[in-house]
């Protein structure tokens, strides 16, 4: 694993009306690692993704990305340029092209590699034919990598949820990314499919050498594949470290489960005046 920084976010903040969705978040993603964002609902994880794919513009802060010609300021790039810089993403609620076949979806993923112009397309010249065949070959590589042969010509609208998740990842891989953003790759998948997903994420990292930035809730998957984890809550950074460090971090536990103080304020009062100690509370219930 090289240690060069691929993506570096500094002091990112986004505000939607009165909500500070992301507040002063900074992190570095190193080349070749799997970096995971975790946090409760509304922590701002997907917002960070939308910042990186330039759907949102940060109110403050900036992002630097190691492009083909060295570090560049990602914040200045228009959203349609992000893919050609080598950043591909999937969506939490799956945004596939539903009325097209799986193969068609993957070929759309090759869009940034198109070399022909409108007039060539209109007459379907030999050059278009040649690039189409090349695109198909690349798409077939991805199909083989993710075992999608069976679904190649199926329409996405008729596919089960689990397969769609894989197809979306395949489409992202077709762009030949350097950085792959996976938004909750295991949501809606069963245990077996989640295991497959973990396997593929590891393969993507080791075999294809693609850096992965993901948002994930399933801690088994997170600890299996992640090198580093950033925990967020209410738009702020809570802790960063290895999956193991994060799982034992008191701040993270508090964000997920609440603190002992939160519980005591909710506790039923007996005789109207005295708070019960935890041990007594158990006794009172019995």
């Amino acid at each position: 694993m090289t240690n060069a920084t691929l993506l570096s976010a500094k002091n990112l903040s986004v505000r939607f009306g009165g909500v500070l969705a992301v507040n002063n978040v900074s992190f570095d993603v190193k080349q070749g690692e799997v970096f995971t964002l975790i946090g409760p609902n509304g922590a701002g994880k997907t917002t960070v993704f939308n910042l990186i794919s330039r759907i949102y513009t940060p109110a403050t802060g900036e992002m630097a990305y190691l492009g083909p010609k060295g570090m560049l300021n990602l914040t200045e790039q228009p959203p349609q340029n992000v893919a050609s810089l080598g950043i591909a993403r999937t969506f939490q609620n799956i945004e596939l092209f539903e009325h097209a076949s799986v193969l068609h979806n993957l070929l759309i993923g090759r869009h940034t590699h198109r070399t022909t112009h409108l007039w060539q397309d209109l007459f379907f010249t030999a050059k278009v034919r040649e690039t189409e065949l090349k695109a198909r070959e690349k798409a077939e590589e991805v199909i083989e990598f993710l075992n999608l042969q069976h679904y190649r010509d199926s329409f996405v609208a008729g596919l089960p949820y689990g397969v769609r998740k894989v197809v979306e990842m395949a489409r992202a891989l077709c762009t030949e990314p350097k950085l792959l953003l996976l938004d909750e790759p295991s949501s809606g998948l069963n245990v077996e499919e989640t295991d497959d997903m973990a396997f593929w994420i590891q393969d993507i990292k080791h075999e294809l050498g693609i850096t992965v930035l993901m948002v994930e809730h399933d801690m088994t998957l997170v600890s299996k594949v992640s090198d580093r984890v950033l925990a967020m809550n209410q738009g702020e950074m809570l802790a960063m470290g290895t999956p193991r460090e994060i799982q034992t971090d008191p701040g993270v536990i508090e964000a997920y489960l609440g603190s002992i103080d939160d519980v005591s304020s909710l506790r039923r009062k007996v005789n109207g005046d005295t708070d019960l100690e935890p041990s007594n509370a158990r006794g009172a219930q019995a």
């Binding site: 349609q80 050609s84 969506f91 068609h104 759309i108 869009h111 409108l118 007459f123 379907f124």
Partner: protein, 361 residues
């Protein structure tokens, strides 16, 4: 049932996927080439009209069916094309140059109209294009020095560098050549990256964008191509009136726009075949209505709005029972015949699609 054994990636990008395609489309082409000798003059004129509507339909299909942008003012592009051509030919410009200019100006106007499409979607885009249709109609009526106003303008016969097309057969072949060229162009676009970008925008703008598709460019492009085809159809329509040789603004009003939209919805949104089936439907419907008119009670048969009523009912029926249009119905019939007797009832049951992300909209 036909099973295609695929041995080469090139097979998937061929236009004719198997020998059946080659056979049937060749047969259709032969029939169309022989049509002037097979059909009476009246039916040839109707066939010409089908071809003209198909050209406009192909354009609107690309825009509405493949890019997902509905235009309710498409007749305006017909008008721009028809008037540009007529004004130019009356100034003595040869036909091929005039038709190219008509297509070019329509495309330019289409780009301008496409600008709101970058911001508004769905029904709001419909309203924006609808008002554009009214503006063009009004301009054609008021700009009397150029367009002749409501009185209309005379159209010259097409003159291809001295060779005047003055018979119905010659005009039919002109329309046939344009239709075939337009169809091949659209089919080529649809199997190339440009066409895939259109489909991507239709199905999910947000992920099209993150796949590197420049939304503004492709939406404007779709509008431009669609308007150019409508402009060419407008020229053909202006020439079609060969017994009248006359165009006026009310030929390009909202009813014409609705006819075009009706045509692609009934033909089948999202299929190239749909444009042709819709055109056939649109041309044959008035004939069918006038044929059954005599068998209906006089109060219904002679009522003035009968055609509008029938169109409305047919459209509602299609939206409710066959949203995929005539082509969708044909696909079902074909599958039924191919699979007979193993067809299952639930095969084409529509499935509820998964909730799309509304977080980003």
């Amino acid at each position: 049932m036909r099973f295609i054994f695929k041995t080469d990636y090139a097979q998937d990008i061929q236009l004719a996927k198997h020998s059946g395609h080659v056979f049937w489309y060749s047969a259709l082409m032969l029939l169309l080439l022989a049509a002037p000798w097979l059909f009476a003059e009246y039916w040839l004129a109707q066939l010409t009209l089908v071809l003209i509507y198909s050209i406009a339909g192909l354009g609107l299909m690309l825009l509405a069916g493949f890019t997902g942008l509905f235009s309710m003012g498409h007749a305006a592009f017909l008008g721009v094309g028809a008037y540009t051509h007529t004004v130019l030919t009356n100034m003595g410009v040869p036909f091929p140059i005039a038709i190219a200019c008509a297509a070019g100006l329509s495309a330019a106007v289409g780009m301008v109209v496409g600008l709101p499409a970058l911001r508004v979607k769905g029904i709001y885009l419909g309203i924006a294009t609808l008002s554009f249709g009214f503006i063009v109609e009004e301009v054609l009526a008021r700009w009397e020095s150029v367009t002749g106003g409501n009185a209309g303008i005379h159209v010259k016969k097409p003159d291809i560098f001295g060779w005047v097309l003055d018979s119905g057969e010659q005009f039919y072949f002109l329309c046939l050549v344009i239709t075939v060229a337009a169809t091949l162009g659209i089919l080529n676009l649809l199997r190339s990256p440009t066409g895939r970008a259109f489909v991507a925008i239709r199905d999910s703008e947000i992920s099209a964008q993150s796949m590197g598709i420049h939304l503004a460019y492709y939406k404007t492009l779709s509008f431009a191509i669609s308007a150019a085809l409508a402009g060419v159809a407008g020229v053909a329509g202006a020439l079609y009136a060969h017994n009248l040789q006359f165009i006026s603004p009310d030929q390009f009003n909202i009813l014409q726009s609705i006819d075009l939209l009706l045509m692609i919805v009934i033909g089948g949104v999202g299929s190239v075949h749909g444009a042709f089936l819709g055109a056939i439907f649109l041309i044959s419907m008035p004939q069918a209505i006038s044929m059954i008119k005599d068998y209906l009670p006089a109060t219904i048969g002679q009522a003035p709005g009968l055609q509008g009523l029938v169109y409305g009912l047919v459209l509602i029926a299609f939206v409710l029972f066959e949203p995929m249009g005539l082509y969708g119905r044909w696909l079902k019939i074909r599958t039924y015949l191919q699979m007979f007797p193993f067809y299952r009832k639930g095969m084409f049951k529509r499935q509820k699609s998964f909730q799309k992300s509304d977080r980003l909209k």
